[in-house]
Amino acid sequence: MFELATPLVPYADPWLQPLSERLAMLHRREVRVAYFYEEPNNSTFRYRAYNMAQVLNGCETGNVSASYFFLSDRERFDEIADAADILVICRSRYCHEVNGLITKFRARRKRVLFDIDDLVFDTDYAHLVVATLGVDVTKKGLWDDWFAMIARMGQTLKMCDGAITTNEFLAQKLANYSGLPVFVVPNFMNKEQLELAERIFAEKEHARFVGDGKVCLGYFSGSPSHRLDYAIVEPALAEVLAERPDVEVMVVGYIDHGPVMREFSHRISRQPFQDYVNLQRLLGTVEFNLMPLQSNAFTDCKSELKYFEAASVGTLSIASPSFTYRRAIRDGENGYLAKAHEWTEAILRALDRSEAYEVMAAEARRDALLKFGWQNQTEAIVRALQLS
């Protein structure tokens, strides 16, 4: 484990600004993009609306400004539609208010795009999504909830002129479903994340990536819906812990261990859910970031975010070969790939290549910043908005 002197940073959600400030942000430049999300959160909203606006507004040479709006701004939808040239509806369920907002843009002959980061717009995949998330199918109202949510997403999508998403696999699904033109803008890291990541990486680099003598494997779950993903790696973790006394495990989030981990409980630490900036610091303390995923069309739609957030702080990832991970990770160069039956071997291989850690960590960070740093996303966003 890496002991970091870089302290925690004080955190407050940066997007909680009054509407007046958000409108002012929109008005700053000649071409204006309004991102819409039902209500802000630190996952999809952050990646697909807040970060996009940050890039567009931060581009010194551009003439595009952007801001973000929510259902709670419904009283000012006309004003937003007057001010903005393009509306991007991010992962929002159909409702009269969303329809109303889209209609206002259409009435003004302005373009409306739909942005989504998951396979949750086509009800043909509803059962697969439920199964992948391990939801109890006997739960009352479950099918109503999931089919309604997915169908409502699909309906919003169909009202738009085009779609934007995070990777080519999901783009193909969107195109198949909607027949609309689809563009790809990957998820990426924003300024706040990268500022802290830079300090953490510099500290680790200065220490030549020497830890405290223990090697820590981290699983950063985000939500309890990753229970079945974690189950892929848990038996391998138990085997590695049994074989290597210097290995420890850190689990962040809501995952519960199975019985195979009981005998190692003294070598397992738990951390609560973190804000996304300080999560970078926690990521920086572990040597390896484990990213097991079930293999199916739903998980192939997931973005590279767990890889690049770890890479930015000099932490190497070991991942299932999902569509995006097998494109992002060059096995043995900037991380490791592990098929579902190879986790033990992959972890042991990674542990035994400690001499390669420093070079790989540097390469992973270089790669992550190049492809997934906010500074390098302007072109992709402008192209997706068809403003280029």
């Binding site: 043909d124 995949y125 059962h127 697969l128 439920v130 199964a131 391990g134 939801v135 109890d136 199918v137 006997t138 739960k139 892929i232 038996p235 391998a236 085997e239 079930q294 293999s295 199916n296 069309a297 299932s320 070969p321 999902s322 098929k339 579902a340 039956h341 190879e342 986790w343 033990t344 071997e345």
Partner: protein, 447 residues
């Protein structure tokens, strides 16, 4: 006990946990009538229920009796990458010898040939990724695509679906490899018959007395719409000769392989005793444990097996603590992993492996592939296994004939020159890829 014996400790623990859960929840666990214990080979369980004041639905009685053939719960998803799904009871350590290992190798090779992903679906015990890795690694098979593991447990209370589970996603044109009549029945209920390839490694009708199980089994074996892949030509010929005409047009066979990286003669302790191996599985009736014990006892008493010169090893599962002759207690070898088993087999000089079916079974071939001499029994068209190895001696199933065969086996084991010459002339395949090649060609071109 029958359930434990057939499905192993992990599955039995799962059943017990479920029953404890029922008890805590105030649901009935057992009642006055226990279903019969259908013997070691039965796929039934000894879950008890039934004859009290309230009548049970007949369908539930049947479902509970035939737990392991309960339909797989599936749901359709849109077309995706091709996938081969292997459906088996368990890939637990104890299950991986022989048949299940072969099924895994076939499924992996077929998946690679079809440029498909592989999914391993188990029903009595959650699948172990590391066990699959061990087998694939031992045979040097690299999967082209990701492997998935899925646990599709039966509803132990006879319900139609495991509580809360979303079921297995299936593609419209997915290929399924099933591994027994009951996994075939479970799969047939949920997917198109043409997508099923039933890997048949025994005349499964012989697992049962004439009764319900046998009828269910025979119905599946008579299926005209699924494809059969039979382990060994001998078994294939026997199945057709015994009435399964359908295999003539929808069946094919392969011969197993014994890679030289795994099966080879190991270094012996110099000056040590010779090793005698008895395949000892008292709960698998077809292995004739008691017939074998009797033969060994006679061989010891008559000096055919001189205990001054031979160490006796009983290798298998659930082996009782027995003594031969004047109190000689053999070593019992149980729970060996794949490599430990191969290491042991590589040090054996003579084996007695009985199999009361037409299939040659794996242990005689494992031993012959590792340089040992083996005595096994004749059965139906299994009269001579010298095409595999001249170090395999087939005897009639009477004690005198078996003792004569053991006598000949001892002589051959001690005749190092002949034994080595026979070993060198073995007809056993050593490469699974070659073994499966005609089958893979057939299965992929027929689609």
């Amino acid at each position: 006990m029958a359930f434990w014996s057939e499905h192993g400790t992990a599955a039995a623990m799962r059943l017990i946990r479920a029953k404890i859960g029922d008890a805590i929840a105030g649901r009935p666990i057992f009642n006055k009538m226990a279903l019969d214990d259908f013997g070691d080979e039965s796929h039934s369980t000894d879950i008890a229920f039934g004859r009290d004041d309230h009548a049970l639905a007949a369908s539930k009685v049947v479902r509970t009796r035939f737990l392991t053939s309960q339909p797989l719960e599936t749901f359709l998803i849109p077309n995706a990458l091709p996938r081969v799904s292997l459906v088996t009871d368990s890939i637990g350590r104890e299950s991986l010898f022989g048949g299940v290992g072969t099924a895994l190798l076939l499924a992996a090779q077929l998946a690679n040939r079809m440029n498909a992903s592989l999914r391993i679906v188990t029903r009595t015990e959650a699948p172990s990724a590391s066990n699959a890795a061990q087998i694939l690694g031992a045979y040097g098979i690299q999967l082209k695509h990701e492997v998935q593991f899925a646990f599709a447990p039966m509803a132990l209370d006879g319900a139609t679906q495991s509580a809360g589970a979303a079921g297995l996603d299936i593609h419209p044109d997915e290929t399924f490899i099933t591994t027994s009549w009951w996994t075939t029945a479970a799969t047939l209920a949920s997917v198109p018959p043409a997508s099923i390839i039933y890997l048949l490694q025994e005349d499964e009708r012989m697992f049962y007395p004439f009764g319900d199980d046998r009828v269910h089994c025979e119905r599946i074996l008579n299926n005209q719409d699924i494809r059969f892949v039979v382990n060994t030509r001998l078994l294939y010929d026997h199945l057709i000769a015994s009435g399964l005409d359908n295999l003539k047009h929808n069946g094919s066979w392969f011969e197993p392989a014994f890679p030289k990286t795994l099966f080879y003669e190991r270094q012996r302790v110099s000056g040590g005793k010779k090793k005698f191996f008895f395949y000892a599985r008292p709960n698998n009736l077809r292995n004739l444990f008691y017939v074998g014990l009797d033969i060994i006892e006679r061989a010891v008493n008559e000096g055919i097996l001189d205990l001054e010169q031979w160490d006796l090893l009983l290798v298998g599962k659930h082996i009782p603590n027995v003594a031969f002759g004047n109190g000689y207690v053999p070593e019992r070898c149980e729970g060996l992993d794949w490599e430990a088993y191969a290491d042991l087999v590589g040090t054996v000089d003579l084996g007695l492996c009985l199999m009361y079916t037409p299939h040659p079974s794996y242990p005689p071939l494992d031993l012959a592939a590792s340089g040992a001499v083996v005595v096994t029994n004749k059965f139906a068209n299994k009269q001579d296994l010298s095409n595999y190895s001249r170090n395999i001696i087939c005897a009639e199933l009477n004690t005198e004939a078996a003792l004569d065969a053991l006598r000949a086996g001892v002589a051959l084991a001690e005749d190092k020159e002949t034994r080595a010459r026979n070993f060198a002339a073995n007809g056993l395949g050593a490469d699974w890829t070659q073994s499966f090649e005609p089958i893979l060609e057939l299965l992929t071109t027929a689609r």
